[in-house]
Amino acid sequence: MIRYIISRLLIAALLLCGLITLSFGLVSLLPGDPAVALLGEYATPADIARIHAELGLDLPFWERYLGYMSRTLSGDLGHSLFTGSSVSSEILTRLPNTLIYLVPGLALALIIGMASGTFAAYRYRRFADKAFTFWISILMAMPEFVLALLLLFVFYQQLRIAPAPIGMLSSAQITPPHVTGSIPLDAIIAGQWGTFSSILGRAVLPIVTMGLFFAAPFGKTVRSGLLQVLQSPQIEFARACGLRPAQVFRYALSDIRGSLMTYLVLLFAASLSGAAIVESVFSWPGVGGWSLDGVLKGDVPVIQGFVLIMGSTSLLGYVILDTLITLLDPRTRSKAVAVAGRRQRRLGATPAAIS
């Protein structure tokens, strides 16, 4: 089993190298010369040559590629062309800010989607199901920034129970002493629970936005998956054995849990890129808004850094997913274990058991 996980990790490492290559290729794919982008239209050839030398663009292709590869693998993602700040440290500072609302948001989406999808499937074609389908189609048709603005309108402007969308900290709060660079983490380390809970309070609306936005497609998947499984011979037999409805639903859910988990990881990857819009609405200092800024300016190292961080996070997600799915299902588990070298004696495989 451990060998199986290691083999997954090796494949992921290979894919990571591919990802770095891809992100390197971005520089040549992007239109325009970074030096021109940096210096403006009226740069002299001498200036351009100087910047080229600074950025290493005058070196031969292979040297640049290998240099980029080794720098990236050692954790150095270069510096922003415009602000000059280190991309790796920017990501390290900003990624926790994004995750602090993204992960709870997805968890919320999981809970809402699972509960409502299951309930709708259970009340198929009755009122609750029709209401669910109606709301899902409205949510699905709504871009996330509209949802975010609607929530702001209701909870900030009308009800006045949500804080203003001006970022993670208000000016009244003291910034915690610099330890890791990430404000939420520093607040925990410094024991400033007031600051930390204020951050969480400000994260509520982004969390709800993400939760509702992703609950819609997830709930829809749960419902349609369940409806399909509920017609299957397996569920019919479970019902014919007189199992309780809750148990029947557990059987059905265990049948589709692989596809649900896959969908959740897909949503996670999608939510990372969708974070940019939500962060713009809430002026949230996460990776999304920062990378959007980089894309608009043509800040190549920032774009590369974002592509890498998104890609490797998704890769990690898929490795975990793949391993979990394989190990959760006894049919693939025994195979994976057998592949990993341990021979599993199967009942059906012994000649005596045939008949």
């Binding site: 019919e236 037999f237 265990s254 299902d329 006894p330 009942l347």
Partner: protein
């Protein structure tokens, strides 16, 4: 003889977007204590709809629209789902067609037995477990202990079907309903499984209703037979009577369809496909004739 199951004028409809399709046109029959009743008929004749209507396992858009089902003195069609659930698995056992699609693939067999017991308020303890083990053994499962601890995919088809049978019989039902229990199995295994079924049902004081399209199975195992055609029972009676002196043309044609060499088979006009309301020319079962042209 007492009647275990009595079905009167059962009518079932499927409400499709294109209109109401009538699948059963007033089916009446009974199953007595200690007997095996076979339902035969071609695909789409309503055999499976009958057993699903009786057990109320029919999924929407299917709906029982009229009739009466009496089982052990209770009128099943009037029972709320909560009480019906307690009858399923406990008083009426159900054996599915394909064991691999019926058993839960990700739950241990042991746990599946325990879930059935729990669902009927039976305390799951060591004696219950050993009862399941004995039952598995009596269905002919080799090494029941190992099977109990394993998963469905580790079994061969015959073994898996024996596990399904053991689950259906676990709580001692009076009536066992088997929907084509051997269709998914190898020919050699079919007989063993049917022998096991007969031993564990009628010979243990139970009754069985078995759906099949295999006339050989009916001839060898059933006491009585119902011949279904287009949602009607066109003929029913003791197997010996029906098979030796068939009255209805469809039964004659069905019996003739058993493949014999050098025979050109006669057939009955009309097809079982897509019965619907817009097509009134569904043949009236009482007027069905063998096609003259191909009668041999």
């Amino acid at each position: 003889m007492n009647k275990t199951l009595q079905v009167r004028e059962l009518e079932t409809e499927f409400h499709t977007p294109r209109g109401v399709v009538r699948a059963l046109h007033g089916v009446s029959f009974e199953v007595q204590d200690n007997e095996i009743v076979g339902i035969v008929g071609e695909s789409g004749s309503g055999k499976s709809t009958v057993v699903r209507s009786i057990t109320k396992l029919l999924m929407p858009p299917g709906k029982v629209s009229a009739g009466n089902v009496t089982f052990a003195g209770r009128s099943l069609l009037e029972l709320p789902e909560r009480e019906m659930r307690q009858i399923r698995g406990k008083d009426i056992g159900f054996i599915a067609q394909n064991p691999f699609s019926a058993l839960n693939p990700v739950t241990r067999i042991e746990k599946q037995f325990a879930n059935i017991a729990k669902a009927h308020g039976v305390k799951v303890d060591a004696s219950e477990r050993s009862r399941a083990l004995q039952l598995l053994e009596s269905t002919g499962v080799r090494d029941p202990e190992r099977v109990m601890r394993g998963y469905a995919h580790e079994l061969s088809g015959g073994m898996a079907q024996r596990v399904v049978i053991a689950m259906a019989l676990y709580l001692n039902p009076q009536l066992v309903i088997a929907d084509e229990p051997t269709t998914a199995l190898d020919l050699t295994v079919q007989r063993q499984v049917l022998d096991t079924l007969r031993r564990l049902t009628v010979e243990s004081g139970r009754s069985m209703l078995i759906v099949t399209h295999d006339l050989g199975v009916v001839a060898a195992y059933c006491n009585r037979v119902l011949v279904m055609y287009h949602g009607n029972i066109v003929e029913q009676g003791l197997v010996d009577d029906v098979f030796v002196r068939p009255q209805h043309p469809y039964t004659i044609s069905l019996l003739n369809s058993v493949v014999r060499p050098e025979d050109e088979t006669p057939y009955v006009p009309g097809s079982a496909e897509a019965p619907n309301t817009t097509e009134p020319e569904t043949p009236d079962p009482s007027k069905v004739q063998l096609s003259e042209a191909r009668r041999s």
